[in-house]
Symmetry: C2
C-alpha cells in the first residue's frame, strides 16, 4: 500500500490521509482513528502501511473495528482478518451483520474460518472465547535447533512465541512447556524436553471463567496459559494482555455493582441516555421498594412516634450508622472472597470477628452520641425534655445494636451471595444499607420501648 505511485490524485489523497499517522505509535494511531467516522477511517486504513493497519486492528482499543471492516472492499477486509490475531478476528467477525459476514466468508482463508468457528463455540468470558489458537507447539522428539528454526518460520504474532508447548508425538497431548528464554540459551542439539520445565504446565479447561484464569496467571506468574480439552490437546492459549483487559473490566463492573447499579458495558460518556437510565433505574426501584418497608415499620410505631417526637430526631443518624458499618464490612469481604483470601467455609470465623468489631465500633459511636446529647442539653442548645438521660441511653444502646447488626449482616451478605451462586460483588453498599435500615428501625424502637417505657412512652 505504501508503494502506490505518488503522481495520481488517488495517491495524493492517500498520502494526505496517511500523513498524520507517520510519527504516531500504535496506541496514538488508534486514538486518532477512533476520532474519525467509520467511512473516513476505512479510507485512511487503505492509505496506511499494511503492517500498521494489522497492528491497530489487533488491539481491542480500536473502536468501530467491525464498522470499518464492513466498509472495506471484501478482499481487503478478508486479508485483514486473515492477518489479524485470530481471537481479535473472531471478535470483529462476530460483530458484523449477517449480510456482511456472508460476503466476507468467501474472502477468508481456511485457517481463519476454522479458528473463528472454534472460538464461536464458547460462551463469552470463558477461556475458550478469550484464547488465541495461534500458539507454537512442537513434538517431544524435536531438538532445540529444530524448534528454533520452526519458530523463525512461523513467527506470526507477538503474543504467541514466548511459551512453546511440547506435545506427545503420537497422541499430541500436552507434555511440557518451554520458555523462549530457556530455548535460546539451550544447547542446539539437546532434546526439547531437556530444556523444558520439570513439572507439567498449569492448564485450564475451555469453559473456565476469566476471573479464575486471571487468578491462575497471577498465581503462577505466567505470560500465557494453555487451554486444553479432556484428552490433553491444546486448543489455544490465553495471554496476559487479554487478562489485564479482563481484570480492568471486572473491576469496573464490581465497583459499579457495589455502587448499586447494573454494570455499564461502555464508558460513561459513550453510553446512550436511555441505556444509562435503564441500568440505573432497575436497582434504584428495587431498593426503593425494599426501603418502603421502613415506612411500614414507622407506621407500626406511630403511637410511640406521636408520644415522643424527640425520638424521630435521631432516626437518620442511627440508620445511616448501621448502613455505613455494613458497607465497610461488605467491601472488605467482597475483596476477601474475590482474592480467595477468605473462603466460603470461613464464614463463621468472619462472623466471630465481626461481632466484637461491631460491638466496639457501636460503643464508640454510642459514646459520641451521649456526649453530643449531654452537651446540647447542658449547654442549652436544645431541650430534649426531662428524660434526656434516658433518651441518650436509648440512642447509645440502639447504636451498639445497629452497628453490630450492620457489621454482621454486611459481612455475611457476600458469603450468602456466593453460596447462592451470585457474584459476591452483587452485595452492594445500597443493598446493605437498605437491609440494615429496616432492621435498624425495629431495633431502635424496641430499645426505646424498653428504656423509655413508663416515662416518655
Amino acid at each position: 500500500m505504501n508503494t502506490t505511485p505518488r503522481n495520481t490524485p488517488a495517491a495524493a489523497d492517500a498520502a494526505r490521509l496517511a500523513a498524520p499517522f507517520a510519527d504516531l505509535n500504535i496506541a496514538d494511531g488508534i486514538e486518532r482513528l477512533n476520532a474519525l467516522d467509520p467511512a473516513q477511517a476505512a479510507a485512511t486504513v487503505q492509505a496506511l502501511p499494511w503492517p500498521r493497519v494489522v497492528d491497530m486492528f489487533d488491539r481491542s482499543e480500536l473502536q468501530h473495528a467491525s464498522a470499518i471492516a464492513a466498509l472495506l472492499p471484501g478482499d481487503v477486509a478478508g486479508r485483514l482478518l486473515d492477518d489479524m490475531a485470530d481471537d481479535r478476528a473472531a471478535d470483529v467477525f462476530l460483530e458484523l451483520d449477517e449480510d456482511t459476514r456472508a460476503n466476507l466468508v468467501g474472502h477468508l482463508g481456511a485457517g481463519t474460518l476454522a479458528s473463528i468457528r472454534t472460538l464461536m463455540r464458547y460462551p463469552a468470558g470463558t477461556a475458550g472465547s478469550l484464547m488465541t489458537t495461534e500458539f507454537v507447539s512442537v513434538p517431544a522428539h524435536w531438538t532445540v535447533a529444530q524448534t528454533l528454526a520452526h519458530i523463525r518460520q512461523v513467527e506470526r504474532s507477538r503474543e504467541t512465541v514466548y511459551a512453546i508447548y511440547v506435545l506427545d508425538a503420537r497422541t499430541r497431548a500436552l507434555l511440557r512447556m518451554v520458555s523462549l528464554r530457556r530455548l535460546i540459551s539451550g544447547d542446539p542439539d539437546a532434546s526439547i524436553l531437556d530444556v523444558a520445565q520439570e513439572t507439567p504446565p498449569v492448564t485450564v479447561a475451555p469453559l473456565l471463567d476469566q476471573e479464575d484464569i486471571a487468578r491462575l496467571i497471577r498465581r503462577h506468574d505466567l505470560l500465557a496459559i494453555p487451554v486444553v480439552d479432556d484428552a490433553g490437546h491444546v486448543l489455544g492459549i490465553v495471554t496476559v494482555d487479554d487478562i489485564i483487559d479482563t481484570m480492568i473490566d471486572e473491576t469496573t463492573e464490581d465497583v459499579q455493582k457495589f455502587g448499586g447499579m447494573a454494570a455499564l458495558e461502555k464508558p460513561y460518556m459513550q453510553i446512550g441516555f436511555g441505556r444509562m437510565i435503564h441500568k440505573r433505574a432497575g436497582w434504584l426501584c428495587v431498593l426503593f421498594l425494599g426501603e418502603m418497608l421502613t415506612a411500614s415499620a414507622m407506621q407500626h410505631y406511630e403511637v410511640e412516634l406521636a408520644q415522643a417526637v424527640v425520638l424521630t430526631l435521631f432516626i437518620p443518624l442511627i440508620m445511616s450508622s448501621g448502613g455505613n458499618s455494613g458497607s465497610q464490612a461488605t467491601s472488605l469481604l467482597i475483596r476477601g472472597l474475590a482474592l480467595h483470601e477468605v473462603r466460603l467455609r470461613d464464614w463463621w470465623r468472619v462472623a466471630l470477628r465481626e461481632l466484637p468489631t461491631g460491638l466496639l465500633l457501636g460503643a464508640m459511636l454510642g459514646t459520641i452520641a451521649i456526649a453530643r446529647i449531654s452537651l446540647w442539653q447542658l449547654a442549652g442548645f436544645y431541650d430534649y425534655g426531662p428524660h434526656w438521660m434516658l433518651l441518650a441511653a436509648t440512642v447509645a444502646a440502639a447504636l451498639v445494636g445497629i452497628v453490630t447488626f450492620g457489621s454482621l449482616s454486611g459481612s455475611m451478605l457476600p458469603f450468602l451471595m456466593q453460596r447462592l451462586g451470585f457474584d459476591p460483588a452483587s452485595a452492594s453498599a445500597p443493598f446493605v444499607a437498605t437491609l440494615v435500615d429496616v432492621t435498624g428501625l425495629v431495633i431502635y424502637f424496641s430499645i426505646a420501648s424498653m428504656i423509655l417505657g413508663g416515662t416518655l412512652l
Copy 2:
C-alpha cells in the same frame, strides 16, 4: 544441596523436610512454605534444591520472606539475595532489622548491594521502587548474532530478556527496543537496529506513580517498560507481572475506600483486631459526626414534626433514595476518572447528563411513592389523614428533588476530590450518603412547607 550424601542423620532430616515439596509447582510450594513458622521454613529452605528456593523467594506471594532469610546462616542468606531478582532482594532486605542487615551486608555481592542502594532511593509506589535493574541492553553497533550470544550468557531471570534495549554506543542513552521474538527471527549478521522497532520506546520517569505505569503498559500492550532518567539512561524496567500485583492491590484499596474505610494493608484474616478497628473507626466516626447534622436539621423542623408526625414516616425512604442515587453516580465517575474515560475538564458535561438522569429517576420513584400511598389509603391499610393526596405530592416532589441532588452531588464529588489532589476513590458511598442525607432533610421539609402550608402545617 540436593547432592548431600543420604546416609547422615542431617541428610535424612533434610530429605524428610524436602519430600513434601518434590511434586509441587512453585505456587503450591510457596503456599506450603507459608503454612510453616519461619524457623521450620528456614530449615526446609536449606533442604530444598537451590534453584527452587530462589524461585520461591522471587515471588511476592512468599510471606515472611525476610523473617526466614534472617534465620538462615549469613552466607546462605547472602547467596539467596544475590541470586534473587534484585527488586525482590531489595524488598526482603529492607524488611530486615538493622542488626541483621549489618551482618548480611558482608555476604552480599557488589552488584546486589548497588541495586539495593539504587532501589532504596525511590519512594514506594513509584517506577523507581518497582523496577528491576536486571535488564538486557546492547550498544547500537552490535549485530543480531552478538546480541543473541550476549543473552545466552547473561540469561539470569525470567522477567528480563523478552525486551532488549539498544543504547547509543557513546552516550549510553536509550535508542530503540527489540523484542526477543524479532531478534530470533532476524538475520544473524544484520545490525541490531535493523530488527528494532521503528519508533522510540515508550518510557517512564523514575518517580512516575504505579497507576500511571499500569495505564501505559496496558495502553501499549507491553511486557515491560523502561525507566529512564533525564539523560535518557535506562535505570531499570518495570515488568507486567509487578504491575498486575499493583493493579490488584489498587482495586482492593479502591473498593475498601468506596466502602467507607481506610484501606487495609493485609488480607482480612491476617490483620490484627486493633488494626482493623483503627482502620474502620476513623471514617465511621467522621461520618457519624457529619450525620449528626441530620439531628440538627430535624431539631430545626421540630414544630413541623410535632404538627405532622405522618411526615416522619417517609424520612428513611426519601433519605436512602438520595443516598442510593448518589452512590450510583459516584461509582460511575470514580471508574470513569480512574480509566481516563472522563477528564477533569468534562465535569460540566457530566453535570448536564446527571441533571436529566436524576430528574427522570426521581420521577420514577415519585410515581411509585404516589401509587404506594394511594393504594394504602384507598385500600384502608393505613390512614394518612384527610390531606393524603397533598402528602403523596410532597413525598413525590421531594423524591424528584433529592434524587436529582444525589445524582448531581454524587457525580461531582469525585471531580472535586481529584481537583483537590485526592484520589477520586475517596468519595465513598457512605460519604455521599451522608452528604445527601442532610440536604435531603432540608429539601423534604422545604417542599412540605410549600405544599402542606395552611393544611397539615
